[in-house]
Amino acid sequence: MTERDHEIGETNETGFASAFEGDVPVGTRTPSAIPHRLKGLVPAGIAFFAVIAVWEGAIRLFDVQAFVLPAPSVIVGRFIETSDVIWSVGFNTMIEALAGLIAGTILGVAVAFGTIRWVPLREGLMPFAIAANSIPIIALAPIANGMFSITSPVPKMVVVAIVVFFPVMLNTARGLLDVDADEVELMRSYAATPREVMWRVRVPHALPYFFSAMKVVSVLSITAAIVAEYFGGSQEVLGQYILNRASLLVFPDAWAGILVASILGVALYGFVLLAERLVMPWHVSFRATDAS
């Protein structure tokens, strides 16, 4: 049993390595796994509320001005009062982010498959893809606005799609290649076709890598959409809302917009976590560890 490095920082729980001694079954899936996980959230919850409390206290104590940093209570107040507007602009931004995320993911996965199927494509493309992955793609946003109609959501979707494409493609390709020599020999001993090797061995190996990438790009897609919106276009989007409220010095409103963006990001991330769990329940990161 190996723990795999999934390229984009992710740690696997490893409490069961010592359990492979003797001819007895180990580490059975226990129903206690879920409460155990919730218990793990307690320190994080305490930390969260502690930070909010310190923030709120410090602002009252030192009488910090709202343009520097508004108090959490003020932000939440504005968040509730302006909820009609911020959720409506948030929805438009979400659509851009989602469209870009889906397009970038489909394209990334398709190209990753291509690089496995055609070795010249891999050897020719990969170095550029790795280089391109380190370019701040968000800087392309003004150019995308020029290429497509600036008032339409399309240039924002394009930027998001490009941002999403590279990590998904690189990670998926890496996962498809992360196959044991023994597994390939085993499939060869069965006289399996390349297609069977792909679907029965390579694709399952690529799933953890794919989901690692998705966890990163799901959040990144919201960020990319908002930053792209800063460069102009429709006013009915989260990026423009935050920009306008900030330039009018209504900072609590801008912060309320940022809160919406955070909620959208966390929601997308949560969706990816859920999908991961449904698609690969066998994976090492979901195993109950009796040791801890």
């Binding site: 049993m1 069961f16 492979f20 001694e21 003797g22 001819d23 007895v24 079954p25 180990v26 580490g27 059975t28 899936r29 044991d180 023994d182 597994e183 020999e185 085993l186 499939m187 060869r188 001993s189 069965y190 006289a191 399996a192 069977e196 029965r200 061995v201 399952p204 799933l207 690969m280 066998w282 994976h283 090492v284 195993r287």
Partner: protein
């Protein structure tokens, strides 16, 4: 029907070319009869795993002739004439025990898979663990699943590449007993690569002693121990004599090369 499952004549395998070339195997001639249990033993680098892979058509010989089940190794592989077990169980993490055993049956698109799987799991005494995932099993159990998977499509030949090399001594002895019982019940021909002299002697009908640089067969020792073999066999005089014989054969090669 040809009675020889493996027939090697002057087989050689060379890796690389020019200056960097390594002669992995030279002048390998060996005949394995149906129903035999053959161990390949020798020091690291003697090419025993290479020989196993030549038989399985996972590598091709550089020269010489090699027949498996009376055909070319490639044809034998395409006809699914052999099953293989590696040192690592090489189970697919995302499949349960049942689904792992089913893998070759899926690829070969055989009928009546459920019955075959339950027969196989019974054979390796893992029927209770059918729905477990590989990580929930111990190393010995994982290797038993690998054996069940290799035998699921009833191959004429079972190739085993140091299958118990990663197991602790107690599990290893249990597994040896297990594999002998399976060999008895299935009448499969087994070619077994190992580092362990007692293991080779305990299991085999013949032990093929190999030496390195270049890899070659230096001796073939018939174990002539009675069957079935059990714990008493391990205490018998004959067993010790065979072990000594194999050890001396290995040592002799060491001196001559």
């Amino acid at each position: 029907m040809n009675d020889l499952v493996v027939k090697a004549d002057q087989v050689a395998k060379v890796f690389g070319q020019g200056e960097g070339q390594v002669v992995a195997l030279e002048n390998i001639s060996l005949q394995i009869e149906r129903g035999e249990f053959i161990s390949l033993i020798g020091p690291s680098g003697c090419g025993k795993s290479t020989l196993l892979r030549l038989v399985g058509d996972l590598l091709s010989p550089t020269s010489g002739s090699l027949e498996v089940n009376g055909k070319t190794p490639k044809q034998a592989r395409l006809d699914r004439d052999y099953g293989i077990v590696f040192q690592k169980a090489t189970l697919l993490d995302w499949r349960t025990v049942t689904k792992n055993v089913e893998l070759p049956l899926e690829i070969m698109n055989t009928d009546d898979r459920e019955a075959t799987i339950s027969d196989m799991l019974e054979l390796v005494q893992l029927d209770e663990f059918a729905d477990h995932y590989p990580w929930q099993l111990s190393g010995g159990m994982q290797q038993r699943v690998a054996i069940a998977r290799a035998l699921a499509f009833k191959p004429a030949l079972l190739l085993m590449d140091e299958p118990f090399g990663a197991l602790d001594e107690m599990t290893r002895e249990l597994m040896q007993q297990e594999v002998l019982r399976i060999w008895d019940e299935t009448e499969t021909t087994i070619v077994f690569v190992t580092h362990s002299i007692p293991e080779a002697v305990f299991l085999s009908t013949r032990v093929v002693v190999m030496s390195s640089r270049p890899g070659r067969i230096s001796d073939v020792i018939r174990t002539v121990l009675p069957h079935p073999r059990d714990e008493d066999t391990r205490d018998s005089q004959q067993y010790y004599e065979r072990i000594t014989e194999v050890r001396e054969a290995l040592r002799r090669d060491e001196g001559s090369s």
